[in-house]
Symmetry: C2
Subunit: 471 residues, 2 copies
């Protein structure tokens, strides 16, 4: 069962070297940095020590059992290493090395077939080749130099692309995601997306499954695994290669057949898996699932500052398939009492009275009125960072406003999302990151633009609508 593969007690890195220009050095350093909860062994031709760990010339020389082997040596040497793994009783081999079937060349394909034959006979499972392998932060298993600590979280990621895995992790960390397990499986010569999909569907550490898929070898098995996974938890998929040019690029990258856009659209429709259009959107959607409860419907209450931004908010929501309803008479009457007539709007989207002047109590009253309106299923609030960072008083005001949002979030059942618009000047971006952290701790997902928030919430609702139909 795959759980063993994600939980090895000992790991050897073949090709681990003291030379920082070698990939094997970085794989080994990943384990050292995260203080892997077991034994680690560097293997290299000279038997050199790496980062203070005793080195061996050959796997077979290691005087202890090895569960997991990462391989970063030239392709032609890999079959020999797999034989060593078989002899040593290794459970799983992650092959970083590329130059196999993905080249489209006969010699590469032959070499890959040879490896698989050795592994199958010897009862060793293969991840890859041509991939970055596994991250399981909780036990300190990481081939990625991305993670500062063992701090883990609920998001799993299955990816055909190693680069996308690293990018998703880096971008996700910045936006507040934390990960249960990541796997980059490359050419999928043995373990493939359906294996990992089945495992993540079961894995109690994973609450949300994200996946980057370029193509599928066994379509029937993939659909079954995806359908079952999507019944147990949200599955968000970025499909690479939906255009003709993208399909050609997929074939150069991992050597699989991409499948047509129509097939994939049908698949999403059929399984209830959610399609993301980019890694950024995948992160946006994951944040909605993590921080927002199920909205009762598609009706957005929007509260923000700025008329142009309010227009954009309304357009973005409606384009994303959300509804921006009129408030009830009671809400309008309540808003009218606290909102100056000039330069504001008490209709939905509310253009709030919080301008340059601090008007925190009115902001809180506004949000309470809007979120208690029976016409509203969820709240999207938006604030402009740059409008309130010029003075310490402005900066404090911004914090006060997010405090209000957090209080509202904790006192109501309707879900809340916030957009913190930023010019992304270095100062503005630093404040974005500070306020994002506070919002996330307060249980509110943070988006960069109104379009992003609307799209993510719409997909959250789509998921729940699908489940409502099938359960």
């Amino acid at each position: 069962m795959l759980d063993e593969i994600f939980n090895p007690k000992s790991i050897a890195v073949v090709g681990a070297s003291p030379d920082p220009n070698k990939a094997g050095y970085h794989f080994f350093r990943g384990l050292v940095n995260l203080k892997f909860d077991g034994d680690i062994y560097p293997i290299n031709l000279d038997g050199k020590d790496v980062l203070g760990f005793k080195g061996y010339r050959n796997l077979r020389d290691v005087p202890a059992p090895i569960d997991y082997v990462a391989v970063a040596v030239p392709a032609t040497e890999v079959p020999k290493i797999i034989e060593d793994c078989v002899a040593k009783g290794v459970r799983v081999v992650h092959i970083f090395t590329s130059g196999f079937s993905e080249t489209g060349r006969a010699d590469g394909k032959k070499l890959e077939a040879q490896i698989i034959e050795i592994a199958r006979k010897g009862n060793v499972r293969i991840i890859g080749p041509n991939c970055m392998g596994i991250y399981h932060g909780k036990i300190g298993l990481s081939n990625f130099g991305v993670f500062p600590s063992k701090e883990s979280g609920p998001v799993g990621f299955i990816s055909q692309s190693g680069g996308n895995t690293g990018d998703f992790a880096r971008m996700g960390l910045v936006r507040g995601l934390r990960f249960s397990k990541l796997v980059s499986y490359g050419n999928a010569s043995d373990l493939d997306s359906p294996d990992f999909m089945e495992y993540f569907a079961w894995d109690p550490e994973t609450k949300i499954i994200c996946a980057y898929i370029e193509g599928v070898k066994d379509g029937r098995r993939f659909v079954k695994a995806l359908k079952e996974a999507a019944m147990t938890k949200p599955v968000i998929i970025l499909k690479g290669g939906l255009t003709e040019a993208g399909t050609r690029a997929v074939s150069s990258h991992t050597g699989v057949l991409a499948g047509s856009d129509a097939i994939w659209q049908a698949l999403f429709h059929q399984t209830g898996a959610i399609q993301a259009k980019s890694l950024n959107e995948m992160i946006d959607i994951a944040l909605a699932f993590l921080y927002m409860t199920r909205p009762k419907g598609r009706r957005a209450g929007i509260v923000g500052i700025g008329g142009g931004a309010s227009v954009a908010a309304a357009d973005s929501c409606e384009k994303a398939g959300l509804i921006v309803p009129n408030f009830t008479e009671d809400t309008m009457a309540g808003l009218e009492k606290i909102t100056p007539v000039a330069g504001t709007s008490i209709k939905n989207p509310v253009d709030s009275p919080v301008g340059r002047r601090v008007a925190v109590p009115e902001y809180e009253k506004t949000l309470r009125l809007v979120t208690s309106d029976s016409q509203i299923d969820f709240l999207i609030a938006h604030l402009a960072i740059d409008w309130r960072i010029n003075t310490p008083e402005d900066r404090k005001n911004l914090g006060d406003l997010t405090d209000v949002l957090i209080r509202i979030r904790k006192s109501i059942e309707k879900p809340v999302a916030v957009v913190l618009r930023s010019s992304q000047s270095l100062q503005s971006w630093q404040v974005f990151l500070e306020e994002q952290k506070r919002c996330l701790e307060g249980g509110i997902p943070v988006y960069l633009t109104l379009e992003d928030a609307a799209a993510a919430v719409s997909k959250l609702i789509l998921y729940h609508e699908f489940r409502g139909k099938v359960t």
Copy 2:
């Protein structure tokens, strides 16, 4: 003629106050900070000095002519001020104050009509009310606290929304845009979008016209002005209020009729103006116009690092209506010589050999081969910031790679765009800004994502295709 309005020799701010909580203070400070090239006078009820400038109780007390007046006093006091302006022979009044026709209320509409009547009779032009007025950085005229200096540039912006004007300026500055003139005209009670469109079409300081439009009062005049402007220079428009909810928000914001999406689509088609979907996309498109020559066609050569990113690049280009052709045999043969077989692609998009190892000469050769291919009309290169910031050597490598791009850009006629992918961690974003600066100085526009680059280049081509048809 409007050129006088944009080039006043003296300005008074009515409502200018020493109190930083008043809008009038900030308008006045904008002029002080940018060292306006003329005389400035603060006017307030107590005749208080502001920021060291002698204050007056009334416009009529100022012992010199005044060309331009900014007004930030309560709405009911505005008619009296306009009378003072008429008496003083003022040419244009910018009314920041809101509470007029945009409220939808009879009293607000009446007050606005009253102001216009006084102004028309007295031969005074009005900008606003309910707006941020004019920025003309070169002479230090700015009502926005956004600009650090008189540094100007080729981008003009016409906007119905003051918040969007400030946001566009802030975001644009970060991305490398510099501005000729900005105007936020709010309720357009007198001067309206066609006036500014005509002026910007003529204005030699403005090479690209950007506009945020919520609605149009005189449709025929607007279409004529837009058509003529789009014949002389690129016009990029963000239309606010294209959905039902957006239209309602527009009506609360500036009190105009938004017009249907179909009408606007026909308008774009008919005039050759380019539609932007957001302020961010407007900036992206403006960068393409500023830094890229006319591509001969839609055929993209894509060179980047990372297989997943290459697939995304191909998908993004094709979705945006660009073509990702196969290279010629010669190019492929050339690439084959310098590219290792494993983990790379020599097809378009090229997944380049520059991995962790520094391979600058091969990178340059790769770019030269791709850009000289007869099948290719322009280059999109992409680099991942986070992959090369962990060590000083990595950081240097990144700079070396952008140096190569700049050399290529300067030695070929085909246009070049670069995508600098970033996790937007604070460190990564700082490096993005550093490398962006170098690329822009080297004549290359910089994008955050492959989707953004593809969309912007596609719209650049659309503009040239339209002009090719009509000229």
